[in-house]
Amino acid sequence: GAGVSQSPSNKVTEKGKDVELRCDPISGHTALYWYRQRLGQGLEFLIYFQGNSAPDKSGLPSDRFSAERTGESVSTLTIQRTQQEDSAVYLCASSLVYKNYGYTFGSGTRLTVV
């Protein structure tokens, strides 16, 4: 597609439930990133995929968080046993390997844990 597509745009879930967030990057972009943005805050790096290389998971805040990516296409971010502190906007971005053209962000998924 023309841009980075994320779904759902909004998700309200009960504490303790699992959620799955989806990101569809720009076609041809081999790099894909997940970030978290808490209300009024900057962006916090979560995980990075580059082609078929092992992902950089160094930003995942706990083992309740995991992400997968199929080849160079769709990625899913899964949060198990959600907690209220997981409430945030989860942003996905993609880029070419050659990052001089920058990163393109999706519109995000607003997750609210009640």
């Binding site: 990133y33 900057g42 962006l43 950089d56 990052k99 001089n100 053209y101 990163y103 962000f105």
Partner: protein, 112 residues
């Protein structure tokens, strides 16, 4: 660990005035990005700065990069209300797995 600091974090200014937002970072990098975020929206790319001394301008915004000082500036000329938004700088680390590290953002409010 790469750290990125922006200041000010909040800026209230009148239309027609000029101001500069500063972005300092802690380790060597030669790629710096500026983004704009409107409330409830995603990030819109404004500038990509790739080398020491790079200067880019778009409308009333001008960004520059000094890699020796590890400093980027975003200068606003003759502000208008439509520029009200939060502006983020982000720096790419020079490591093999490069990822963006963001500043906390500068919330800009331009009033008549």
């Amino acid at each position: 660990e790469l750290k990125v600091e922006q200041n000010p974090l909040f800026l209230s200014m009148q239309e027609g005035k000029n101001y500069t937002i500063y972005c300092n970072y802690s380790t060597t990098s030669d790629r710096l990005y500026w983004y704009r975020q409107d409330p409830g929206k995603s990030l819109e790319s404004l500038f990509v700065l790739l080398s020491n001394g790079a200067v880019k301008q778009e409308g009333r915004l001008m960004a520059s990069l000094d890699t020796k000082a590890r400093l980027s500036t975003l200068h606003i000329t003759a502000a208008v209300h439509d520029l009200s938004a939060t502006y983020f700088c982000a720096v790419d680390s020079n490591s093999g797995y490069s990822t963006l590290t963001f500043g906390k953002g500068t919330m800009l409010l331009v009033s008549p």
